[in-house]
């Protein structure tokens, strides 16, 4: 994936070039306003880049819409309310997430066999959601909603999973649970993942690669062995440069 030079009044992403390999789990860190979210939004298509290219499996998708790109990528937002439709039930949300194509098909979406499958999926969350398939999502707690969002984002087995500070709005314990769940799912499904986080410990603990975004540029890109050697003191120190 490459982003050669984008031009803008406020130059956010400059000469960003990033190649994401299959199976990478990248932690993205950087100070506020550095362009982490811009980077993710540009990849997802919410923001359009003025110049450059984004190649998804050798296909340039720079001009494509969010919904088109969603065939290959999924996203979990920071706000738990953003990733789920509150008025719809848990089951309906899962149906939506299951397939990102044929969204206007005239086939019945409510099939009996699906329910057992959804229950199986929800059981490992250990939140009792498997018995609340018919509950409207707006009645769930933030943690439950976020866990559901995460599950939904991974349900379609995306080529790229984008996590935008997805644990930031949760309490410490729920945050840890959701993070563990993330790690488990990503490892099990071998998903290529990019995760923005402000928690240095999470950035170091999870994933095989770490990039730091500062002033719209990638100032640090370490993976494997080198990443293991980093500690959080060192990282925080780098913020100042």
């Amino acid at each position: 994936m490459f982003f050669p030079g984008t031009e803008n009044e406020r130059h956010i992403l400059k000469n960003v070039s990033l190649k994401v390999y299959d199976g990478d789990f990248i932690s993205v860190i950087g100070n506020n306003g550095a362009g982490k979210s811009t980077l993710l939004n540009t990849i997802a298509g919410t923001l359009s880049a003025d110049a450059g290219s984004i190649n998804l499996e050798n296909k340039n998708v720079i001009k494509k819409s969010v919904s088109y790109r969603s065939r290959w990528m999924s996203r979990v937002f920071q706000d738990p309310k953003m990733g789920t439709a509150g008025e719809l039930s848990v089951a309906e949300n899962l149906v939506l997430a299951e397939s990102h194509v044929n969204t206007i098909s005239l086939k019945w979406y409510n099939k009996k066999g699906q329910w057992e499958k959804f229950q199986e999926l929800l059981k490992p969350l250990d939140m009792g959601l498997e018995n609340r398939l018919k509950t409207q999502v707006k009645y769930l707690s933030g943690g439950q909603r976020q866990a559901l969002s995460l599950l939904m984002a991974t349900l379609s087995k995306p080529k790229l999973l984008l996590l935008d500070e997805h644990t930031a709005a949760l309490d410490p314990k729920t945050s840890r649970d959701v993070m563990d769940l993330t790690d488990e799912i990503v490892n099990r499904e071998k998903l290529t993942t990019m995760m923005i986080t402000h928690k240095m410990s999470d950035a170091l603990k999870y994933g095989n690669r770490l990039i730091m975004v500062q002033d719209g540029q990638i100032t640090l890109d370490v993976s494997g062995e080198d990443k293991m050697k980093l500690d959080s003191e060192e990282l925080v120190g780098m913020f100042d440069n």
Binding site: A44, S67, S70, M82, E87, E92, W108, Y109
Partner: protein, 321 residues
């Protein structure tokens, strides 16, 4: 009186269902209503005068409304005009279109056969009710089946959370345009039926229809609550009928027809306020019980068994958080 408001209400039901689709499912107050309602009427009456059968004319009225809705949808999504303004623009534009379709501001039917004439020779009110039941039945059945498909689910999701829908591969612009289109098609269908029932199409017949539509949606929701889409659609029919009934009662009290518009507006204000007040009273009552139990020193278990009071919410914002 009840019987006639039943018939009239059923003819207005498609309009209320149309308003329900934009207002409740897509969460957009769509003013195109005021233009597409007479558009349906104008199209139907003109075609009938030019020798088309009532069936074709009614169907074309529906299609005409769809076109109007499609235009608003494109203005809203593709040109990024705020939805309220997009509706106003289409509504204003449609005024001229309607004048061109009709040729003059009021076109009466002469001896043409309207839809009710195809029914057996019962009393006019019975014919109206039967026709209303048939058409409303078809509309509800079609929409019910539509909302059971993935397409319907995508439509609901788009109205509820656009970001999430786009992230899940739904073409949200397309869904919104689709919603506007069927909504206005139904509104125009209502216009077409009302024009046939009245025996004429009039350029001014759309004035105030959005208020009628919204008031009926809210009245229906006061009397019939539920999450099931079939219940919600039926509530719209109930709302349409009750609203007609309210107006008939007002007329019976001696209000002249000219005052009906302000009555409609007042009814809308009342039905918006009723659920808010009702919730407030309920909250207060629950709170009182809760507090009195606390002072009585009743311990945890009983306190827990009491439902937490629901917080008051504006009815216009629906049940959204």
């Amino acid at each position: 009186m009840i019987i006639s408001s039943l018939g009239q209400g059923l003819l207005w039901a498609p309009l209320v269902i149309g308003v329900f689709i934009t207002f409740r499912i897509l969460d957009i107050p769509d003013l195109t209503t005021e233009g597409s309602f007479p558009f349906g009427a104008a199209m139907t009456i003109s075609l009938m005068i030019n020798g088309q059968s009532a069936f074709i004319a009614t169907l074309m009225g529906f299609v005409a409304g769809c076109l109007g809705g499609f235009v608003t949808g494109v203005l809203d999504t593709k040109l990024h005009i705020p939805s309220l303004l997009a509706g106003i623009l289409t509504m204003t534009g449609l005024y001229s279109v309607n004048m061109h379709v009709m040729g003059k501001s009021n076109v009466p039917l002469l001896t043409q056969k309207v839809l009710t004439d195809y029914l057996p020779a019962w009393a006019t009110t019975t014919q109206t009710i039967v026709l209303g039941i048939i058409i409303t039945g078809i509309v509800i059945l079609a929409l019910y089946l539509m909302f059971k498909t993935r397409l319907g689910l995508s439509l609901m999701a788009t109205g509820n959370n656009k970001n999430m829908s786009a992230a899940n591969g739904i073409n949200t612009d397309g869904m919104i345009i689709f919603g506007y289109t069927i909504s206005n098609g139904l509104i125009a269908l209502s216009g077409s039926l009302i024009a046939q029932s009245n025996g004429y199409a009039d350029i001014g017949m759309g004035i105030g229809t959005i208020v009628i539509g919204l008031a009926s949606v809210l009245v229906g929701e006061i009397f019939l609550r539920g999450r099931n889409i079939l219940v919600r659609l039926s509530a719209m029919v109930v709302g349409a009928i009750l609203y007609r009934f309210l107006l008939t009662v007002a007329m019976g009290l001696g209000f002249p027809p000219d005052d009906l518009k302000i009555l409609s507006a007042i009814i809308l204000v009342i039905v918006i306020c009723v659920p808010i007040l009702r919730n407030k009273l309920k909250t207060r009552k629950q709170l009182k019980i809760y507090l009195s139990q606390l002072t009585e020193g009743e311990q945890d278990e009983q306190v827990r068994s009491i439902k937490r009071p629901k917080f008051t919410k504006g009815v216009l914002s629906g049940d959204r958080e």
